[in-house]
């Protein structure tokens, strides 16, 4: 089975739909499901945040987005990190 990947913008109180905090992706494959967050280390890493939200944790909002928008958010985070260095 080919991997199916869904992307989600993560929005908290100090971010917005236009400027999400970061992106999570949910990868579904023959091996099962994995949630990954684009992290402060500029890498994709396992994260329980989306799972928590599905179980009533309202600290973060997650909005499903297209892959192209996810790539734009990741590029923005990378550029912001580069500027800080």
């Amino acid at each position: 089975m080919a991997d199916k990947i869904a992307y989600y913008a993560m929005i908290d109180e100090d971010s917005s739909r236009d400027q999400p905090r970061t992106v999570l992706r949910r990868i579904e494959s023959a091996q099962g499901r994995a949630d990954e967050l684009f992290s402060r280390d500029l890498e994709w890493e396992a994260s329980p945040l989306l799972h928590r939200a599905e179980h009533g944790d309202i600290s973060n909002d997650f909005v499903e987005i297209a892959e192209a928008e996810a790539e734009q958010i990741v590029a923005r985070i990378r550029a912001s990190a580069a500027d800080e260095q």
């Binding site: 099962g32 994260s47 309202i58």
Partner: protein, 309 residues
């Protein structure tokens, strides 16, 4: 939504002599109530409105009884299923959380905090404990006392364990740009309460209690109506104590949704821990979905709006 009881409840179809629904001694289902003084005519519009309210109350009672019965019938099989799952997939050993010699912290799933982050989290946990005991807990008990028709459930779990707080902080800190202070601020369930209602009183009760908590001086930060979610049912809210900025969480459940949450909590924890196999994850998700799928949305719940909308 569940409150819609059909065309028969439309004002045009309402019989004229309907009267008060406040007394809980209603006539037969669908019949108007008679017997008010003949010299005190009730305006037609009021009669219709009262009749509609009465019909809604009756419908709500019927729906709630059906929901209770459906859950009560299904719950034993779900519990047995969960026990069988645990036999098939024994829980793994959890590595104990550790404070490192340099003051840092390592928790479940190899989550880590630096010495500074760990010190901040420990101080936050201590402050939360003090404020929960001195300010937030007593206020919530006053809210509870305002209506004997529902109760605060699980008050012994009012405080999130310090290691769970640190785990959550570590998870939040992995997102870009999140500071320690920001991560701690986002964790509203360091102090949490659950109000439990009968399904037929749920919507009115939640709306009234949101008002009561506000009247206690708390500021509503966020409220989510999650009754249409797949794996969790209820209303969850975050509040701020204005004087200190401390946050707390209040969950609003029916007896059935609270039981479903408790029944599926271990399944949730297994997935969250990140160490269950993909095959087990799939079963766990299916279990949670089916358990919550058995819950009937309480009548009138669509009136509970998200905040901010």
């Amino acid at each position: 939504m569940a409150i819609d009881s059909g065309d028969a409840d439309a004002p045009d179809a309402a019989p004229a002599p309907a009267r008060s629904v406040e007394g809980h001694d209603p006539p037969e289902r669908g019949e108007p109530e008679h017997g008010h003084p003949a010299d005190a005519p009730i305006p037609r519009g009021q009669q219709i409105a009262e009749h509609v309210r009465y019909r809604e109350t009756v419908e709500a009672s019927y729906q709630s009884a059906e929901a209770r019965d459906a859950w009560a019938a299904a719950a034993p099989a779900l519990r047995a299923e969960w026990e069988a799952h645990k036999q098939r997939y024994p829980d793994r050993e959890h590595a104990p959380s550790t404070t490192l010699p340099d003051g840092g912290w390592v928790g479940d799933g190899n989550r880590r905090l630096s010495p500074e982050q760990n010190a901040e989290a420990a101080k936050c946990a201590a402050d939360l404990r003090d404020e929960a005991i001195e300010r937030i807990g007593p206020a919530m008990e006053r809210v509870e006392a305002a209506d004997p028709g529902r109760r605060l459930a699980g008050q012994e779990h009012m405080l999130k364990g310090e290691d769970r707080l640190k785990e959550k902080m570590a998870d939040e800190l992995r997102a870009p740009g999140v500071t320690v202070r920001h991560a701690l601020d986002k964790i509203a369930d360091g102090v949490r309460f659950t109000l439990e209602y009968q399904a037929e009183d749920y919507a009115e009760g939640v709306l009234a209690d949101v008002g009561r908590i506000t009247a206690e001086g708390f500021q509503l930060i966020k409220l989510k109506n999650l009754w249409h979610a797949e794996q969790y049912k209820g209303v969850n809210s975050q509040w701020r104590v204005p004087e200190t900025g401390t946050r707390c969480e209040v969950q609003f459940h029916t007896a059935e949704s609270l039981e479903a949450k408790e029944l599926t909590h271990e399944a949730y924890e297994r997935i969250r821990g990140g160490t269950s196999s993909p095959a087990e994850d799939s079963e766990l998700e299916d279990f949670q979905r089916r358990a919550n799928g058995l819950l009937v949305i309480p009548p009138g719940t669509d009136r509970i709006r998200d905040f901010p909308e």
